[in-house]
Symmetry: C2
Subunit: 326 residues, 2 copies
């Protein structure tokens, strides 16, 4: 079978190659999956660069997310059928043709959800929902600010916030995104490099203040979000695409009683109960199916084209997810 | 009456002077206090420099803390007696001979508490108690790390932690403080500039990890505390004596699920209920009286000597509080 492999950490466009690996049979309690669609997420690229919170032993196959159909069942597996569409959770190595996974790690996808929607359910829709409704628990009528608002999670946050009456201020780098994000349901779209940014935010929210911030950029962008928060405000840092540290004025923390929290989806999956996870998937599936939590797809590549695919995924100008198929 | 005054924000040793001001009579619901003892706190010095969260209109009299005896009661004041020892809360301007304050802002001191102990009850003992037991809620057996461990709050944290079975790692700048802080009840005393600091901390706590950090320095020192925290760890920033920003690695926040909280005592007093405040003072008074929450006094100065007093208070080498008396 074809598998994307890397033997050293580094630039994804350089260290990845496609190899032929032998197919292994599923052991007791395991299934063999024919993987079909895998989104390229920032966390995959950070892992390949060796800059992620949990790193594989090398050589390894990348890929944390993806959907596949069950090819065969190992001894003793019940409740699953050959041909069924599933997503393996926390298994890793989705960027190959076939994957052996424990049946206990599979989330069954409902009929009616496409292979592409299923492949993108676990990371981005889950993150957006949890950040808004379980981590920050933003109340209707409150103001939330986020950077990288054009990312998949950013757009999902906009739509989920609009759906539950939360107001959003959305920071982007490119001015041409404004109308598109307003059409998604954004209340306000502002530009990262606008020297007047903090004043514009203050005028927008008035006495209400900004109660909540979501930072997936870190560096100067994330540091600036802290300055926009009202007393008692909270910021969750869940990404660091700038790869730069946060520089935090301690006076802002102290005198405005501000909190910063780090949050990692993988950690959430490790500690959440199976019923909590199942309930959340049930909540999300109709929202993916009706398009609320469906990301635009910028391009699709075959496994063999993985180097072009990761190069495309690292383009900041792209609009939508890059998928690996086949 | 004599009053310390400043007409512009700046170096305390330069902008402060002693003036003669007319005495005003207490209005309805007010009392006139003869102020007796005032500790010089870092927050006073930051205020005089114009670097605090709430600044007075100038010219102003500094001083957030201090004890006085009631000189006379305004119309309608009940429950207080001439000669009674009290501490005015959140009134400001304690660095003068007499102070008019609302009776509702007074905390009565119990008989048996000295004027000096009363003068130092509200800021440091209160901060130490709240940080340990209400903000961080550190459980017995857990490890807590703090910088500026030789400050008054730092020593109180050491003693309160020992009293409730919490282990402390105490970071100081001067090697000669080690034995003194161990005698206070510190488990471990380490040096800010030791290149081996992080390894020493890791060896000390082993698999337990450091669950809690208290930062009153910010800058490189506070930033380093974040690196010592185990997954799920929390840091409270309640001071910034380095006047430098915190530089936070977002990966540490995200992958170790770490939280940073700003905390300001003045804000706590503004939002706590009167019964909560009264209960806390009742808890603290015996701990001050028995010496657990009593700070060493480095030197005392008369109001007229305020410039020498603030110069002494800004010496990093002093050991104990500087008091203004008379």
């Amino acid at each position: 079978m074809r598998a994307v492999r890397f033997a050293s950490f580094g630039d994804p466009a350089k260290v990845l190659q496609v190899e032929d690996l032998p197919l292994t049979a599923p052991g007791p309690g395991q299934v063999l999956l024919r993987m079909l669609v895998r989104p390229i997420n920032p966390s995959d690229l950070f892992t390949i660069r060796g800059q992620y919170g949990r790193l594989p032993r090398l050589p390894a196959t990348p890929g944390m997310e993806g959907a596949g159909r069950i090819e065969s069942l190992g001894p003793g597996v019940r409740g699953f059928a050959v041909g069924q569409l599933v997503v393996p959770l926390g298994v890793g190595g989705t960027w190959q043709e076939y994957l052996v996974a424990n049946a206990s790690a599979l989330i069954p996808m409902p009929e009616g959800l496409s292979e592409r929607d299923a492949a993108m359910l676990v990371v981005n829709p889950t993150s957006a929902w949890l950040l808004l409704h379980e981590v920050l628990r933003v109340a209707p009528g409150a103001w939330l600010i986020q950077n990288a608002a054009n990312s998949a999670v950013g757009r999902f946050i906009i739509r989920l916030a609009r759906r539950s009456g939360v107001h959003t201020i959305n920071i982007v780098r490119r001015p041409n995104l404004r109308d598109e994000l307003l059409a998604e349901g954004a209340d306000v779209v502002l530009y990262e490099n606008d020297p007047d940014l903090l004043d514009q935010i203050a005028r927008t929210v008035g006495a209400h203040g900004v109660g909540y911030a979501l930072d997936s950029v870190a560096g100067a962008s994330g540091s600036r979000l802290v300055q926009t928060l009202r007393p008692g405000g909270q910021m969750v840092v869940f990404g660091a695409i700038s790869r730069q540290p946060l520089t935090i004025d301690p006076s802002a923390l102290i005198f405005r009683n501000i909190s910063l929290h780090g949050w990692w989806l993988a950690q959430w999956f490790q500690t959440a109960s199976p019923t909590h996870i199942a309930d959340l998937m049930a909540t999300l599936q109709p929202l993916v199916a009706d398009g609320t939590l469906r990301a635009p797809i910028a391009a699709e590549y075959n496994l063999e084209e993985v180097q072009q695919a990761v190069a495309a995924a690292e383009q900041s100008e792209r609009n939508g997810k890059i998928l690996l198929v086949g």
